[in-house]
Each structure stands twice: as structure tokens, then as C-alpha cells.
Symmetry: C2
Subunit: 402 residues, 2 copies
């Protein structure tokens, strides 16, 4: 008997049949005597349909109205899921974000959770009901509907797990867990039984796509242990927590590839104090996420700045840089034909030679490194996009992850 | 410059193009300097889709969850309508029923409005915003979403018109107004410029289908003058109000036909006190709407009871009557092949001979009367369903309504 928060994503509740399937799973958990809070996303596709309608009506829809609009996706799913449970004889009640007491700040479309008043949810749990909560949404002090941004439903689940002091939090998705590499690319990739928050954070931010960074950060902050697992089978997934009992020799935990990056080279700018700051201040003001910055000095005392940006922000980055370069001089070139490969593992903190092993393996495969950046538990390199899959396989093998 | 509440039904906001059309209409009203509260329904078809999903999940869905589910239809439309207004440069803000302060009792799926806290709506009107409110929905004291039942969006509009002390309330629909008869049946039916609440009530309850009875009753109670008009053209519609300036000779205002009725005959029951009461108490307890009751005494001191019920409640009525008839004796027969024809007009209060004119005209057309019932401003007869259209044309002509 435990108190469990479960989160089912849009694919898991994509249609009536899948919702019935989720209801059967929940029924089985209830039969074991567990108290259950179930967080659901909008049915897959619904959010995109709503956005398409919004954009057909207004080139730049108001963020407040966008939240009012998108919240309906999850509100539909909670009611349908509650009904599906009633249909199989399980007592259940649905809660919108507002009803679940999820209070956020006023920043529409990417609100932050401020507090959760979980008393009504806990009361219904104690009364023997399964509580179904709309993911992704909350309410601000003024009674306006807010949404939490991408990956918001995971965040709802983890925040609720903290608020109701759950014993477990289970994130159901369409993958079996976190793998040592993308199984579609690296055939012998293995599912990890456990992973630390830090490693998960690096993997999430590096394109493993299982979860958004902020949900993992939130879990780490409130020490919420969660499990990523599939809603389509009953296999155990990957448990994400603070401390992981490693075997000594496990240094690298996984290999991640991110193909949705572009490399930006700002060349021939004056090498004097403040120039680089001007470039990155402008990008920051435009909310562009910059990564893997390298500066070097070229001929004639002119400097080159190289960095990566998400592919989706490529055009915005160029627009933003144009006026800055008019002021400080220099040229800008963007290369979309790149990918970022990273190897991650907390064991790297105490083991040397990881970088050497990686560079060596890639060199032997004839793969050139364009940029390198390292942290305590991660080494990332930028390589040609068409070599990315091969590089993942090479690195995976080099660290014996298969 | 006036404060106007407008209501657009599901057909008027059925898709993105129609929502744009509504936005253009609203923009034109704003350009005239009016303050506008706009109540919208769910896009046509959406509510039925949601109900279909609910029923696929649960044979008898919980009414609380049904309200939680159905409220999303209008919440989508308010956000889209606000965005469409932004798209044409009109300041607008959307309100769910809860945000608009529409507090109801706890009766899910057919809640009654208790109070409206219109202060936020009025503040936004004064700030120059068009306020878009979700029809059909409210919130109860416990923070649970409720819906107002059929025709609920009209009710929202009329109740808001009272709460914000609007100068006008306009109900936009897919018909031009209230006609002297159904124009699809009676070719020379005319649109009425004005009609009284009482007449509208009789016409609404008698199958003219323009509006539900309770919205008209609410308007009468709070003396809200409203206009029924088309959202597809700019023709003036029909104004519904307390007193209508009639020309003296206008006695009958309209002819309505209701084909969705069944005639129930309970025969050979004991003619003693309490028998009829038992029959109608059972039907009332089952929430079956009974109309046009006639009792007569047959041979051997046995009585016959004849009445009409909505076609949708035919099976329920038979089920309900079975145990009663076991107790008091008697047989039951149901006839679906009937229709109810009614002529309505407040002028009937002071004019005699209306019944005679109607019966005479129908007799000349060879149309037999199975039941007759009269009120101060209405005469209804039950006739064969296959004669209903002809009867409408005959009655329409007999009272010179063309």
C-alpha cells in the first residue's frame, strides 16, 4: 500500500480505446490497495489542432487566450479518464489545475508553479477515490488559467508528488525508460535501471527527449524519486533519484545525440573587452539559448566566436546579431549540417581518460570534431550531422555500454 | 452608444471562417461605440463528439464529469473568438463561466443560476474591452464546473444582460427571427417584428425551436428585452418583450407544430378517487413531461386517461406505467403517429371565436381532432402526424397570417 502519482502522456490517452487501457491499469493498481493520483495530458494531436485554429485567427495570438484555449485539452482528458474508471467500477474524480490548487505566477504559456494546495486532493484520496488531475495547467492569483510550457504535465506530476508526499511518482510514456543511447540508432543500447538526477538532466537537455529539463530539476530540488516507464507494457522502467548505486567501473551512463542544433560562427570581430559580451547580451535579451561557446583569436588581432543554438532559433539569432555586428564589425555564418554528441556519467567526476577514449574512438572512425565542451559529468562534441548516428554507435561501443 | 449583450450559437461559430465572420460583426458594433458582452456556444458538433466519447467509456457517465467535459466546448470558443478579435484589432478578453462569476446551484447538467458577480466583466467593459463569455456553464460553491442544460447559452446571455444592466440583448442564431409558422412548411409565413414573452413562451414550448422556455421565462422575470436575429445577415429580427403594440385585429400571432410527441391512452381503469393521481404521480416521479391530459368515462364505470409525452420519453413512460397498472388495473397504448398543432396569441384573451375558426378550418380540410386543450393565449390540438403540415398551412391561412 503506497501513495502513487502516475502521469500518462498524450499518446497513452490518445483515443477512447487507449483511455480504457489506462483505466484498466489504474484499476489493477487500486486492487493492490494503493492510493492514486493520476495526471493526464491532452490526447495526442489535440493541442496541435487547437494551435492551428488559433493561428488561423490571429498571427500572434495573445498568450493569456492561448492558455485559456490549450487548457481545454487536458480538461477533456481528465473527465474522460474519470468516466472510463467509473465504467470499470473504480471510484474517481477529476480535477482541473485550478481545482487541484495548482497556483502559478502570471507568466502565461510558461508559468512557474508557486504553491499547491493539495488538501482537497488528499481528502479525496483518503475517501478512496482515484484523483485525476489535468497536467500542464494551473491558475494564477487573478483566477486566470495558465499553462506550464513544454513538458508541463511531467512537472505537474512531480510537483503533486511532492505536495501529497507520494511514495512514488511514475511517468508513463511511449518508451520503456532511459537508454544508454537511442535504440533506433544503436541496436544494442540498454535500458538503465537507475540514473541520477544529474545524469538525467544532462541526457534530457542533450536530446534524449524523454523528459524536459525543468521537471527533472524540480524533482531534484524536492528530492522526488520518479520512474520513467511505458504505458503499453508492464516492464519496469528507469528510476531517477539522487544517489545511484553504481558498480565502480561504470563511468559513462549514456550517449545522447542532438541533431536539432545549428552552429553559428561570428568571425573577424574586434578582440577587445566587451565585444563578446555585446554579442551574448543581445542573444540573451532575445531569449535565445546559446551553448558550447568557443572563442579564438584569428589573424590581425580579430576574434572568432563559435557557438550552437537550437535549429528553431537560427533565423531569430541571425536577425538579432545583424545590428550588433553593424556596431562591432564582423561577419556571421550559420551551419545547419551539424549535430551534438554527448557522453554523460557521474562516474566521470572521479575517472580520467573519458575524453581521450571518446576522441580516440571518433578519430579512428574518421569523424572530425568541430567544437568540444566539457562539464564535470559530460563531454559534448559537435560533429557533422551525417556522421552523428555512426558516432553514437562508436561512442556507445567505446564505453562498453552495449 | 449602448451596452449590448450578444449571443452567438454553435452554428455561428462552427469553424474558423465563421468565427472570423463573427469577429467582423463585433468589430462593426464596437466601431459604433457600443460596449459589448459576447456569449458564445461550443462549435456546432463539438458537444456531440464529446458526448459520444463519454458514452464509449461509460454506459451512464457521471453528471459531474459530464459537466467537466462539456464545458471545454465553450472554453475553446471563447479563446478563439477573443483571438479572432485581436486579429482584427479589437481589444477583447475571454471569460469562462466561473471567471464571469456565474454561480449556480449544485445540480449538474441542468444547474440553475443563483447569482452573477458581474463586477470584473463590467470593469473590462469600462476599460474598452469586448468581453467574451462562455455560454452554458457556471460554477457552484464548491468550485465544481456546472452546465445549465439545453439552451443554456441563451440563458447565460439573458442572465448576463440583467446582471450588467444591458440596454439590449441580441440572440444570434441561424434563423431570421420568430415566424408566424415554420417557413419550410408554410411558404407565406411572415417574420414577426415583435412578440410578447407569453407568446414566445407558448411558441418555444410548442416546437418552434428558436429558444428554450426557461430562457424566455428568465427574461420575463427580469424584464430583459431581447432580439432573436440571424448571424448570417444584418436583417432586423424579432424583439421579445413584455408589452407589444398590436393592431387591434391581430388575435393569433403564430402557428406551431410539434411532431416529437406521442399520445398515451390508459384505458379501462377504475373510476375512483386517486386512480388518476397514482398514474400522474408515477410519471412525475420519473420526470416525464405530460401534456394535454383528457379523462373520460367509458362503459361500465371504467375511465380512460389520454395524454401526450415527448417521443423521447415514450419507452420510459411505458416502463413507469406498467407497475401502476398492475395495481389499479387497465391497459396502456401508445400512438406515435400524432402531432400537436397550436395557435398562439395574447389577443385571444379578449377575442372569442378563435377555437371555432380553427376547428372549422381543420374540419373543412378533413383533419380530425384527437385531443384539444386550451389556455388563455393558446389552443392546441392533437392530429395525425401525416396531416400536420397541411394543418399548419390551413390554420395559418384561416387567421390571415400570410
Amino acid at each position: 500500500m503506497a501513495r502513487i502519482v502516475q502521469k500518462y502522456g498524450g499518446t497513452s490517452v490518445g483515443d477512447v480505446e487507449r483511455i480504457k487501457n489506462v483505466a484498466q491499469r489504474i484499476k489493477a493498481f487500486r486492487a493492490e490497495g494503493h492510493e492514486l493520483v493520476v495526471v493526464v495530458s491532452a490526447r495526442s494531436g489535440v493541442t496541435n489542432e487547437l494551435i492551428a485554429r488559433a493561428q488561423a485567427l490571429c498571427a500572434n495570438p495573445s498568450e493569456r487566450e492561448m492558455d485559456q484555449l490549450l487548457a481545454v485539452g487536458e480538461q477533456e482528458t481528465i473527465a474522460l479518464t474519470a468516466m472510463a474508471l467509473h465504467g470499470v467500477g473504480v471510484d474517481a474524480v477529476s480535477y482541473t489545475g485550478a481545482q487541484a490548487g495548482i497556483f502559478t505566477d502570471k507568466v502565461h504559456t510558461k508559468a512557474k508553479i508557486k504553491t499547491i494546495n493539495a488538501a482537497p486532493v488528499i481528502a479525496d484520496l483518503k475517501a478512496g477515490k482515484v484523483v485525476i488531475v489535468a497536467g500542464f495547467q494551473g491558475i494564477n492569483e487573478e483566477g486566470q488559467v495558465t499553462t506550464l510550457g513544454r513538458g508541463g504535465s511531467d512537472l505537474t506530476a512531480i510537483a503533486l508528488a511532492a505536495a501529497v508526499q507520494a511514495d512514488k511518482c511514475e511517468i508513463y510514456t511511449d518508451v520503456d525508460g532511459v537508454y544508454t543511447a537511442d535504440p533506433r540508432v544503436v541496436k544494442n543500447a540498454k535500458k538503465l535501471d537507475e540514473i541520477s538526477y544529474d545524469e538525467m538532466l544532462e541526457l534530457a537537455s542533450l536530446g534524449s527527449k524523454v523528459m524536459q529539463t525543468r521537471s527533472v530539476e524540480f524533482a531534484a530540488k524536492y528530492n522526488v524519486v520518479f520512474e520513467v516507464r511505458s504505458s503499453f507494457n508492464t516492464n519496469p522502467g528507469t528510476i531517477v533519484k539522487q544517489e545511484v548505486a553504481y558498480m565502480e567501473k561504470v563511468v559513462v551512463r549514456g550517449v545522447a545525440v542532438d541533431k536539432d542544433q545549428a552552429k553559428v560562427v561570428v568571425s573577424n570581430i574586434a578582440d577587445k573587452p566587451g565585444t563578446a559580451a555585446k554579442v551574448f547580451r543581445a542573444l540573451a535579451d532575445a531569449n535565445i539559448n546559446v551553448d558550447m561557446i568557443v572563442q579564438n583569436i584569428g589573424r590581425g588581432g580579430l576574434a572568432n566566436l563559435t557557438f550552437t543554438v537550437p535549429l528553431t532559433e537560427k533565423a531569430k539569432a541571425q536577425l538579432t546579431l545583424a545590428p550588433v555586428l553593424k556596431e562591432v564589425g564582423g561577419d556571421v555564418a550559420v551551419d545547419e549540417g551539424i549535430a551534438k554528441l554527448s557522453v554523460v556519467g557521474v562516474g566521470m567526476r572521479t575517472h580520467s581518460g573519458v575524453a581521450a577514449t571518446l576522441f580516440d574512438a571518433l578519430a579512428k572512425a574518421g569523424i572530425n570534431l568541430e567544437l568540444i565542451s566539457t562539464s564535470e559529468i559530460k563531454i559534448s562534441v559537435v560533429i557533422a550531422k551525417d556522421k552523428a548516428d555512426e558516432a553514437a554507435r562508436v561512442a556507445h561501443a567505446a564505453f562498453g555500454l552495449g
